[in-house]
């Protein structure tokens, strides 16, 4: 299995997880993997101070077993958000692994995850004292936005994305439209138009992605509220 970008369809991948079609189920699983593996890995590493080796095994093992045993299809949207369901399932998996004192033997159904990149990110993040649940939510937000940015890169022109990256992603906030115009050799009007277009696309991508990883309208609204930090 490998990580796929968000598919273009707005169909909920959570619904697709219960599909009888194996290929559809695999695509849905890939999308969830793309959205959730890093938050769960970091959750194990930072919130529960697991060693890198432990956290890698836990994350790999969790997703392999979830796919093989189809445990994610048992999700009930009436009880909790999928994000909460996944975290609790991961907690249970970690507790079982701990009790059994065994590690997943790699190979077979292994998933390819870039743990080195996750470790670099952990090293760059500021120390935190929030609860494990809050930490997981924070990393989920970061993961959804990061995936949306990657998808935006594919959907924008080169200049559009470069303007968006320089103005909204870089931490150097002193940059002006005029400086960006000079840097990219375009007019200031083009800079503002490109930024506006990229932001509009980004907004669409984020909301589409959220629709894919939620099962109901109510869950979508609740998760969007959490993602965007809007009080309900």
């Amino acid at each position: 299995m490998s990580i796929a970008p968000f598919p273009t369809t707005r169909r909920s991948v959570i619904v697709a997880l219960a599909s009888a079609d194996v290929a559809e189920r695999a695509r849905a699983f890939d999308t969830l993997l793309a959205c959730y593996w890093k938050p769960l890995y970091k959750y194990a590493r930072v919130a529960f101070r697991r060693t890198r080796e432990d956290a890698e095994d836990l994350t790999q093992g969790f997703f392999v077993r979830a796919f093989e045993k189809e445990s994610l299809a048992g999700y009930d949207a009436a009880k909790a958000s999928f994000r909460t369901f996944l975290r609790l399932l991961f907690d249970r998996h970690a507790a079982n692994e701990w009790k059994a004192g065994q590690r997943l033997k790699r190979g077979g159904g292994e998933v390819h995850l870039d743990f080195d990149a996750a470790e670099v990110e952990i090293g760059r993040e500021a120390a935190t004292s929030v609860t494990p649940e809050k930490y997981f939510q924070r990393e989920w937000v970061r993961s959804v936005f990061a995936l949306a940015v990657e998808r935006l890169r594919a959907r924008c022109s080169e200049t559009q994305f470069a303007v968006f990256e320089a103005y909204d992603l870089d931490d150097d906030r002193a940059v002006s439209y005029r400086e960006l115009a000079e840097r990219f050799g375009v007019s200031e009007v083009k800079v503002t138009n490109d930024l506006s277009a990229a932001r509009r696309k980004f907004r669409e991508i984020v909301l589409d992605a959220l629709r894919e990883v939620t099962a109901t309208e109510q869950e979508f609204r609740a998760e969007a509220s959490a993602l965007l930090g809007i009080p309900r």
Binding site: N193, R199, R232
Partner: protein
């Protein structure tokens, strides 16, 4: 994959919520407030060269029909105490917005904490009642009156804001609990039908809040006005905001109020207070006569 710093995540959150004003005559200036249904921004109207307030439906939680209804309700309430709507439209990203007058001033709770005389507070409250009474006369109930939803302009104008959960008499809707604890009438809290008397309850709670900001003793007639406005049974309250405002003005003018039956002593004290100049004149005259009498009988 791009790594996003905490600051970048915070900016992207703003980007995802920020309205796309391209194609409109407005420029975004800053966010001035947010609620469940939408966000209010200060915007610049390039055509008319003026600042406006722009309420934009929340990208996620907004209810387009409700925001449109709110704009229509406010637009039909042309009154100096109700913020006027200028324009309604749809943004390039599909979100509904409406623009209205940008009110500069302070929220009522902030205004009163700056230390105001009781007379100023009561006069302002009476004007607030007039604005709400106008809405009631036009079949509109606000349903969420509270100090945070009332602005006092730079020159003392009082403006009722946030008509997001207002109900027009000609619009049927499912019964839902709306309002804010502490200002919500009991029937609203129970999810029952609300009417002008529900707003009267909220106004009574606002008057009580205003009076409690001062260490001065609250006169019994004013306390009685609050009690009547906040009666548990709607039928025992003032029938509408106009009657409540009139009672407050009666008190300001030194006249008896409908909510309080005073005894003879209180009536005498009030009469003396109201005719202070006349009483002073009579006392001065009597004193002069006494002095003259004493002088002539020496």
């Amino acid at each position: 994959m791009t790594w996003l710093s905490d600051d970048a995540v915070a900016r992207l959150r703003d980007v995802a919520e920020q309205p796309d004003l391209s194609g409109t005559r407005y420029e975004l200036v800053r966010e001035v407030g947010r609620g469940g249904m939408g966000v209010v921004y200060e915007a610049w109207d390039r055509e008319l060269d003026r600042a406006v307030a722009m309420k934009v439906c929340s990208v996620i939680l907004g209810d387009v029909d409700r925001l449109r209804r709110e704009a229509r309700i406010v637009a039909r309430l042309e009154h100096p105490g109700i913020v006027p709507v200028h324009d309604v439209g749809v943004l390039a990203d599909g979100r509904l917005y409406y623009t209205m007058k940008l009110v500069r001033g302070a929220r009522l709770d902030e205004w009163v904490r700056a230390g105001r005389s009781r007379t100023d507070v009561l006069r302002l409250f009476a004007r607030l009642c007039e604005a709400v009474a106008f809405a009631h006369a036009n079949g509109v109930v606000h349903r969420d009156l509270k100090p945070e939803n009332i602005m006092v302009g730079e020159f003392g104008a009082v403006l009722v804001m946030d008509w997001g959960v207002a109900r027009a008499a000609d619009h049927a809707e499912e019964r839902v609990i709306v309002g804010t604890a502490g200002y919500m009438a009991p029937e609203q809290a129970r999810g029952e039908e609300s009417d002008a008397r529900s707003d009267v309850y909220a106004l009574g709670a606002i008057l009580l809040f205003l009076l409690r900001q001062s260490s001065e003793r609250v006169p019994r007639p004013l306390a009685a006005i609050c009690l009547r406005a906040m009666a548990v049974e709607g039928s025992e309250r003032y029938a509408d905001a106009r009657l409540l405002g009139e009672d407050v003005l009666q008190h300001l003018d030194g006249l008896p109020v409908s909510a309080y039956r005073e005894n003879i002593a209180e009536r005498g004290v009030r009469w003396l207070g109201r005719h202070r100049a006349l009483v002073a004149l009579v006392v001065a005259y009597l004193l002069m006569r006494a002095i003259v009498l004493l002088w002539t009988h020496r």
